[in-house]
């Protein structure tokens, strides 16, 4: 699903984001990406979502060579890579329903299909009764669940999460992780960046550890 081959990312000004990172994640895996802040976790995720391009090496996602992907193709790539952020990135002037519906609207689905899928996604994250609420009126945990519903509503084969539990208390974090575990069970590949080592240790999944832009530890595929 994801294949990094000697990937490096240097920023203008000489700062190194990633240096010679190689790994492979198979379809259906759920992998944690860890390391202290500045180790390159966000950079790695951005390369997969094509928010940034690598300076060296090859990135393959979903059998697609991202190094060669044209800019005009990026939107179609992003529709297959769901992204979840620490700050949720919701549109505060729209309802929960409209937020979750956005990826489907973007893909050009009809209203009936959109409505059906949005309700299913909201049901899954337990927010069906909040569909008409404004995101700003929800708690942090609820907002994060809206963000997750928005990501999975279009059924992307791959989901990336950048510190999804960063602002949440342990109980809510646990709930979010259980949600991720359920998505993984239905076949979604997940790559979750977090520095919450306590949480990771309880999950017993493959862990990639970055340090100063280099991959220093890979616990390997579990199961």
């Amino acid at each position: 699903m994801i294949h990094f081959d000697n990937v490096s990312k240097r920023y203008p000004g000489g700062h190194t984001g990633l240096a010679g990172v190689s790994f492979r994640i198979e379809p259906g895996e759920m992998v944690f990406l860890t390391g202290h802040s500045g180790a390159g976790k966000s950079t790695l995720l951005k390369l997969i979502g094509l928010l940034e391009r690598s300076s060296g090496g090859q990135v393959h996602v979903n059998d697609r060579n991202l190094t060669r992907l044209k800019s005009s193709q990026i939107p179609y790539h992003r529709r297959e890579v769901g992204m979840i952020f620490q700050d949720h990135r919701l549109l505060n002037d729209r309802t929960v329903f409209d937020n979750v519906a956005l990826p489907l609207v973007v893909s050009g689905l009809g209203y009936k299909e959109i409505s059906r899928r949005v309700h299913a996604a909201l049901d899954k994250v337990g927010l069906l009764n909040k569909e008409k609420a404004a995101p700003i009126t929800l708690s942090g945990g609820e907002q994060q669940r809206v963000g997750i519903a928005r990501t999975v509503v279009s059924k992307p084969p791959l989901v990336l999460a950048d510190e999804p539990t960063g602002n949440l208390d342990p109980k809510l974090s646990q709930e979010i992780m259980e949600l991720f575990g359920w998505f993984n069970q239905v076949g979604v590949t997940l790559l979750i960046a977090t520095h919450d080592l306590d949480l990771i240790s309880r999950m017993d999944r493959r862990i990639l550890t970055l340090h100063n832009g280099q991959l220093v530890q890979d616990t390997g595929k579990t199961e």
Partner: protein, 320 residues
């Protein structure tokens, strides 16, 4: 790794015209609703556009009216042939019969010495003073209407020269010079209006472009998020293009109203003036063609203005 999988375009859902239409309608209405949520701001921007458009359109309508009037004058170009003082009414009638056979002349009206006197008495107000004259000092007059094909200023001039050579002739007048001057001035004015329209059209583009630029800045976060979700540039562009279209259309409607009201305001005095000149001239307002042209043109300007702004500013926004 099949080649097909490398091209995500091939995995796009099939194009559905009904959904496309539904989507456009929805975006058009949504951007309209967004504008209506801030009615004062929308009205002010549209008013600026409206005033900028009303100026050239109003001038255009006035010039059209002026042309209608002066055009009527030219096609009715008649030649006044004043006969020598000693030519009697009888001789004048004889001459008119002779000239009527002329191939360039359509019709001739003979104004006898007596009727010229009567008209003069009636119009001048010198009624009693004229009675004191023992003989009629006015010459007979032939009002000659050239045939249509000889009624242009140039060809009529030839006829004037020919008539001037007649022994009975005192003065021949083809009083078209001032009409032609007026037309030349109208033409210059038309050019000026065109230049003005171009400049103000550019101003409208800039106004709309700037409004859309601010709108893009305000919705920076939203654009970033939609890009993250996989929206194409076309998808993101659409609401802004519709916003520009609406601004242009509203501006056009305001311009139409301004021009229509202005014409209504001056049509009263114009009718009075026309009456003083014994003319039934009626100031014409915006016709259907001009109205349609104005509305589509302003909407088009709005679309173009936002297109330029969107093209320049959207690509600068990339999610991070």
């Amino acid at each position: 790794m099949s080649r097909g999988r490398n091209n995500p375009m091939q995995r796009r859902p099939g194009f559905r015209p009904d959904i496309w239409l539904q989507r456009h309608l929805q975006v058009a209405l949504a951007s309209l609703g967004r504008l209506m949520n801030a009615p004062l701001g929308t009205l002010m921007t549209a008013a600026v556009i409206g005033i900028a458009l009303a100026l050239p359109i109003g001038l255009h309508v006035l010039l059209n009216n002026l042309q209608n009037v002066s055009g009527g004058w030219e096609s009715g170009a008649s030649i006044s042939l004043f006969l020598q003082q000693e030519i009697s009414d009888k001789q004048a009638t004889a001459l008119s019969k002779k000239l009527r056979l002329h191939q360039r002349i359509e019709s001739i009206q003979v104004i006898s010495k007596a009727s010229a006197m009567a008209e003069f008495r009636r119009l001048s107000g010198f009624g009693d003073a004229l009675k004191a004259l023992d003989s009629n000092p006015l010459p007979a007059l032939l009002v000659i209407l050239p045939k249509r094909e000889y009624s242009t200023p140039e060809t009529a001039q030839l006829l004037v020269r020919e008539l001037g050579l007649l022994p009975e002739t005192d003065i021949v007048q083809l009083d078209l010079q001032w009409v032609r001057r007026l037309q030349a001035i109208t033409e210059i004015a038309q050019r000026a209006v065109l230049v003005l329209a171009t400049l103000l059209g550019l101003a409208v583009l800039l106004i709309i472009g700037n409004t859309i630029r601010l709108e893009i800045q305000n919705r920076h976060a939203e654009i970033e998020i939609t890009k993250l979700i996989g929206a194409t540039n076309g998808f993101i562009r659409r609401p802004f293009l519709y916003t520009g279209l609406w601004y242009g259309l509203f501006g056009g409607i305001i311009a139409w109203l301004l021009v229509a009201i202005s014409i209504l305001l001056i049509s009263g005095p114009v009718a009075e003036l026309a009456m003083l000149y014994q003319s039934a001239f009626d100031l014409s307002s915006l016709d259907i063609t001009t109205t349609l042209l104005l509305l589509t043109g302003s909407a088009g300007l709005g679309l173009l203005g936002s297109w330029i702004a969107v093209g320049r500013h959207l690509s600068a926004i990339e999610p991070s």
